[in-house]
């Protein structure tokens, strides 16, 4: 499949890739590529979109010559008019730096911990590092030059990595999910700088992302990939506004977006019958009440550092309360305090009107509140079979005999729509979505009244994310669950929550019903957050239920 160049300004593409196939010696067919081709003009930004395992990273590494020796590569590329067989890693290595440069997802581990920023840059260019850093988005490069990576934030590290990549003035920058691990405001700023650099230097960018909205905001061209093949190519606007492939449509439909009443997965911001109307806090019977909670640590120099300061949050029965904030805002600490993983230095926690003190827990309390972690991989014991792990809370609380427990566990797993063939498996052989279903099933085994979801869908692909959110909503309705939903992703929050609490630097800064808060944020910080949110065009139509059936 060939992408017809849209740009008219040059006759020849900067890079033209033809017939790339990659097979891994170990036989991991999932990440192999099958016969890909595309062109990219100088100065253009190409977005490669796809869910995990679609092969987008493999392709970028193939172009950059960074695939491990175990990968068998076929195909070739033309770069600035010269042909390069992609199997010749040595030849490709010669291209890196001045021809092609690449940056990666995890900025904290991208830099050498033993080197200052200055040395990082000096290794790559003899020139003055200052302007380079300015290009990468540092306002005052002098401040950062002598810092070590561990002294910088993730966003700063990524900017340094970008500066390193740009040091030899590459013609093409490949960026593999460079902002996925960053806060949304930082992401916005980095995207802005990348776009500016591309324009200024006439440099091309291949931008890999799982986030359609990011791709839409940044890219001229978009490639949609799945299972190692290109499903769709075209200009960003065209692909997103009028997707041709079913998969693309499904992806777009799965995106949590700021259109509250659009589809089946959209949050029921209008309250279920018999419950309080939206936007009125604490009218319902509060299932979980966090009252003036503070959590303090001591810093190395002996001062006290409050991760959470006097935060009060109520979650009513059948209510989903979103807790938003960027990294280190204290939202996770607050959630952990609620279940006793962290001891609050002040404040009171009560469940269903009863004050609980986790330092002297009663077994029955443990059954009333459950917690779902971000990474479903880590939340399950890698050695235990799924059904046994779901049964575990019953084992711990010695509820019922063995047969009953097994039956309950299976019932819960079915409730989360997990295929019963998987019940006897170990987590390793399950996908992320399946694992998250299992952890949800486990949390529900003891029929808790309160559920805390700590970034529970952040690690999942967007289509799976949509399904899990749907599942949560369903369960909420069925059991009148009170859910405290923590996320840095405002679009997800917008989807699912009745009410939103915004935290920053450990303090609660704003609170309100979802719809109103998003439409009319009072705090400037909230406004920044919302503004930084990458958005898709408001056009596309489809109904997710149909899409889901189709996929």
């Amino acid at each position: 499949m060939n992408l017809q160049p849209q740009s008219q300004c040059r006759a020849h593409p900067l890079i033209s890739v033809q017939g790339v196939s990659v097979v891994f010696a170990s036989g991991q067919s999932g990440s192999a590529l099958r016969d890909l081709s595309f062109d990219l003009m100088a100065g253009e930004i190409l977005g490669i979109v796809g869910e995990s395992g679609s092969g987008k990273s493999v392709m970028c590494r193939a172009i950059a010559g960074l695939l491990p020796p175990s990968a068998k590569i076929k195909g070739q590329m033309n770069f600035e008019g010269r042909p390069y067989p992609l199997s010749d890693r040595r030849l490709l290595a010669g291209l890196r730096g001045h021809g092609i440069a690449m940056i990666f997802q995890d900025p904290m581990s991208a830099l050498d911990p033993l080197m200052t920023v200055r040395r990082h840059l000096a290794l790559r260019t003899p020139g003055d590092p200052g302007p380079l850093l300015t290009t990468a988005g540092f306002g005052d490069p002098g401040k950062i030059l002598d810092s070590y990576p561990h002294q910088m934030s993730g966003g700063q590290c990524q900017r340094v990595a970008i500066a390193c990549a740009l040091a030899r003035e590459p013609r093409l920058l490949i960026a593999d999910e460079p902002t996925s691990a960053l806060d949304v405001t930082v992401q916005a700023s980095i995207l802005k700088h990348l776009k500016a650099v591309a324009a200024e230097r006439g440099m091309s960018i291949i931008f890999v992302t799982h986030d359609l909205a990011v791709a839409y905001q940044l890219c001229n061209q978009i490639i949609v990939m799945r299972n190692g093949v290109i499903l769709e190519t075209g200009s960003a606007a065209a692909v997103l506004a009028a997707p041709r492939a079913d998969y693309t449509k499904h992806l777009i439909a799965s995106m949590p977006r700021s259109r509250p009443h659009a589809s089946g997965i959209m949050p029921q911001t209008s309250p279920p019958a018999g419950l309080r109307p939206i936007g009125v806090p604490s009218a319902r019977h509060p299932a979980l009440r966090l009252d003036n909670i503070s959590v303090g640590y001591k810093t190395p120099d002996g001062r006290r550092f409050d991760a959470v300061r006097n935060v009060s949050v109520d979650v009513g029965e059948g209510e989903i309360v979103g807790l938003v904030g960027e990294s280190a805002s204290g939202k996770s600490t607050l959630a952990k305090a609620a279940v006793g993983l962290v001891t609050p230095s002040a404040g009171r926690i009560s469940m269903n009107g009863r004050v609980v003190d986790w330092s002297r827990p009663e077994p029955s309390w443990r059954r009333e509140i459950q917690y779902i972690f971000q990474d479903p991989r880590g939340a399950l014991d890698p050695l235990g079979r799924i059904v046994h792990q779901v049964r575990q809370p019953l084992d711990i609380h010695r509820l019922g005999d063995k047969g009953e427990r097994e039956a309950v566990a299976r019932a819960r797993l079915l409730e989360t729509h997990l295929d019963d063939k998987l019940f006897g498996r170990k987590p390793g052989s399950l996908s992320g979505g399946q694992r998250q279903r299992a952890t949800i099933a486990r949390a529900l085994t003891v029929r808790p009244r309160v559920l805390i979801c700590d970034e529970s869908v952040s690690a999942l692909d967007v289509s799976i994310q949509a399904k899990i959110l749907d599942l949560l909503l369903g369960l909420r309705d069925k059991y009148a669950l009170a859910i405290l939903f923590i996320s840095h992703d405002l679009s997800v929050i917008q989807h699912i929550c009745d009410r939103v609490v915004v935290m920053r630097h450990g303090k609660l800064i704003e609170e309100g019903p979802t719809f109103e808060l998003f439409r009319n944020p009072t705090e400037s910080y909230t406004r920044d957050l919302i503004a930084a949110l990458p958005r898709l065009p408001d056009a596309p139509p489809s109904h997710l239920s149909e899409q889901e059936a189709a996929v």
């Binding site: 890196r96 440069a101 690449m102 033993l114 990595a161 490949i174």
Partner: protein, 318 residues
């Protein structure tokens, strides 16, 4: 500052444990009078000996007297010779060090490149060969190797003097024998450290921004893989000292190790204690030094120190 205090406190407790162990364990193990004077000795001579060395006092009093002496840098007198135990040990330390230091240097000089070579060719023949060599180095008892080497180079070929110090060539066999273990250890350590570092994202980032493999190995991989080498060396120092005892014995060198073996079997308390204390203190200092120098190389170490300091506080508070 807290970190230093914390480390210092730990070190002091360790030394105290050491003293207690050295004193009471050895005291429980046999009557030095009987051991030193032999089987034919008359009771009178034994009594005289006990009286002379204060062995008739209760143990705890002997211990307190000993501790008090230590405070005045008095490690006691050797029962065997009546000389200062410290002087005896200090006399021997240069010998052991003159074996151990070249050994460490040689082990690093050969083991580290071997490990790097191995890591660079991971899974290939050269890697397997290097691993096998290092395991062989670790597995052959050093005394056996020593005797074999001596037979070959001294008796058969007549190249080297088999024992003691004659000239610089006397170092060849003992140091080579001792180094087999060290080379194996360093090679294995370096290999796994290099393999680990080379799999870090920062290596891919460096490649992706156009740095050559040579620069990456030299500038990124090596420093990161080798910083822990300092700690390893500090810990390995103890192993070297132990194996030096065996090698000293085989090659007839009068070092601390052979002194220890003599003194343990003779129950020459003061000397054994002095050796254990000096070895222990040296190890503690070596570890401290390693930690300190680590701080110069790895900027993250400051955080580590803060973390230990925090742990100390939790200990104190609880």
């Amino acid at each position: 500052m807290n970190w230093y205090l914390f480390r210092l406190g730990r070190a002091c407790i360790t030394i105290l444990l050491l003293l207690i162990l050295a004193f009471f364990a050895l005291a429980a193990s046999g009557d030095p009078a009987q051991i030193l004077l032999g089987p034919d000795t008359s009771q009178a001579a034994i009594d005289a000996f006990r009286e002379k060395w204060g062995l008739t006092l209760p143990l705890w009093q002997q211990f307190l007297i000993y501790l008090n002496g230590l405070l005045h840098m008095n490690f006691g007198l050797s029962y065997r010779t009546g000389e200062s135990a410290l002087a005896l040990v200090l006399d021997r330390i240069p010998v052991t060090l003159s074996l151990v230091l070249p050994t460490i240097l040689l082990s690093i000089a050969l083991g580290v490149p071997l490990g790097i070579l191995s890591a660079m060719h991971r899974g290939r023949f050269i890697d397997r060969l290097a691993i096998t060599l290092s395991v062989v180095g670790l597995s052959v008892p050093s005394f056996l190797l020593g005797v074999l080497a001596m037979y070959l180079f001294s008796v058969k070929l007549g190249w080297l003097a088999p024992s003691g110090y004659v000239d610089w060539s006397s170092y060849i066999m003992p140091v080579a024998t001792l180094s087999t273990v060290g080379i194996g250890t360093y090679a294995r350590f370096t290999r796994s450290a290099m393999v680990e570092v080379m799999s870090r994202p920062m290596i891919e980032t460096a490649r992706a921004s156009g740095l050559s493999e040579g620069i990456i190995h030299r500038v990124h991989a090596l420093p990161n893989a080798l910083t822990p080498l300092i700690t390893i060396t500090a810990l390995e120092f103890g192993h070297f000292v132990t194996y030096a005892a065996v090698v000293e014995n085989v090659f007839g060198w009068q070092g601390t190790g052979s002194l220890l073996i003599e003194s343990v079997s003779a129950r020459d308390f003061a000397v054994v204690q002095a050796i254990m204390i000096i070895t222990g203190v040296t190890m503690i200092l070596a570890n401290l030094l390693a930690d300190l120098s680590y701080g110069f190389i790895d900027p993250r170490i400051a955080d580590l120190r803060h973390r230990s300091a925090r742990r100390l506080r939790t200990v104190c508070e609880s």
